[in-house]
């Protein structure tokens, strides 16, 4: 195991432990906004670091069961939507078993598979995913702002509205960040070069 990979693992453990420490956990779970945007996002990031550590080691297995990163991507997206259910936010606070399950499965089933699958993704699928993330954030954000009632019995409506507004803000930031490169570098030349080198481009339909 390389030092780099060991570092990733250590950072992952530190992230998850920090978020799991009772004072931090209670503080973050007191508000719906920090519960979702800091705790859940942090756990997924911890998992992402773990995935980075194992990217190289799992290469042969991934070549077999995770061609183009599709199965890993689907796993990550499903696990993410599961923990984003308002019901699960409530249950993870009230039920210690659900809480424990959250701390184990968000890193392992959301962050890690996405980190492993991301570089394997077909560029077309990758762009599609970016669009999907932005639209999901916009829809959820709008839903949280417009919902007449509280979605979680443990949180205030004002908190829910704040989370919705921040989600829309994040969607805006991502949209700008992901489209900015188009205005800095003209991709046409770069893309032809990449098409020759990157196996995923060769395999994608219409690009031969």
């Amino acid at each position: 195991m390389k030092t780099r990979e060991l570092q990733y693992i250590i950072f992952c453990v530190i992230t998850v432990l920090l978020l799991f420490a009772p004072p931090m956990r209670d503080a973050l779970e007191r508000s719906m906004t920090t519960h979702v945007l800091i705790q859940l996002a942090g756990l997924a990031t911890g998992g992402w670091l773990l995935g980075m550590a194992f990217r190289g080691h799992l290469r042969r297995v991934m070549l077999i069961v995770n061609a183009n990163g599709v199965s890993g991507l689907v796993l990550g997206l499903f696990a993410m939507s599961f923990w984003m259910l308002p019901r699960m936010l409530d249950e993870s606070i009230t039920d210690p078993y659900v809480e424990a399950a959250k701390f184990v499965t968000v890193p392992l089933l959301v962050g890690a598979p996405l980190a492993i699958s991301w570089p394997r993704l077909n560029p077309v699928l990758c762009s599609l995913l970016k669009v999907k993330v932005i639209s999901a954030l916009l829809i959820l954000g709008w839903l949280y702002i417009a919902a007449p009632d509280r979605l979680c019995t443990n949180y205030y409506q004002s908190d829910q509205v704040l989370l919705g507004q921040l989600m829309i803000a994040i969607a805006g930031i991502l949209a700008v960040a992901w489209s900015l490169p188009w205005f800095i570098v003209d991709g046409a030349r770069k893309r032809t070069r990449r098409a020759k080198s990157h196996p995923a481009w060769r395999g994608s339909p219409g690009l031969g």
Binding site: L77, F82, Y156
Partner: protein, 211 residues
């Protein structure tokens, strides 16, 4: 030849993706009760509808300081709501819901239906405060009882049995899942309605007439 080999190599990934899709959909389906309950509030209502339950026998103190238990009201349908008398927002709409419901009961001569408001703010929901709250909402003592738990330790079990979560807010008040809870003749909590769903309650207890 190469094409054939590629296709075979992709098969395990296809199987893996299918497995993940199936497991993921099943998990979401089960955890949302078949896409019917995405929030814990809708889950609570669905559970009660499917599995009616009898609340614990808590001793209550009415606004006229008489002590009674829920069991004493058996044989009648009880519509229960949870309030705190200092509440500026939700409880006012709950109060007006009960006012409208009471009017409807008088109109349809439903003497077998009783309204019960339970105050959960033990310190401030004194009998006097409850009486004032009742007067504000034109409560008819024969049809609408206002009460609090006689002993504070009975409060949490009662709230849990009904599935009420109370969180205190930054203004010294509370936020809670407000709803209309219907308890049937046998004392079982059988159905939960939205605060403004008076018609739903009327229809439901209308069907239960004389049963």
């Amino acid at each position: 030849m190469t094409r054939r080999r590629t296709r075979i190599r992709l098969l395990p990934s296809l199987v893996a993706t299918t497995l993940v899709l199936t497991a993921g959909t099943s998990a979401l389906w089960i955890k949302t009760d078949g896409a019917r309950a995405f929030t814990s509030e809708s889950a609570r209502r669905l559970t009660i509808t499917r599995y009616p339950r009898t609340p614990p026998p808590a001793l209550l103190e009415a606004s006229d300081r008489r002590l009674f238990t829920l069991e004493k009201l058996h044989g009648r349908i009880i519509v229960v709501d949870f309030v705190y008398t200092n509440c500026p927002t939700v409880c006012v709409s709950l109060g007006s819901a009960f006012t409208r419901l009471q009017a409807a009961l008088i109109e349809s001569r439903r003497d077998d239906v009783h309204l019960l408001s339970i105050g959960f703010d033990i310190a401030r929901d004194t009998p006097d405060a409850l009486t004032a709250y009742g007067r504000r909402h034109l409560a008819d003592p024969k049809r609408w009882t206002l009460a609090r738990v006689a002993s504070p330790r009975d409060l949490q079990p009662l709230l849990s049995a009904f599935g009420i979560v109370v969180i205190s807010d930054e203004y010294g008040g509370f936020t809670h899942n407000a709803a209309l809870h219907v308890v049937d003749h046998q004392g079982r909590l059988v159905r939960i309605f939205d605060t403004d769903d008076i018609d739903g309650v009327r229809e439901f207890i209308g069907a239960k007439r004389g049963s």
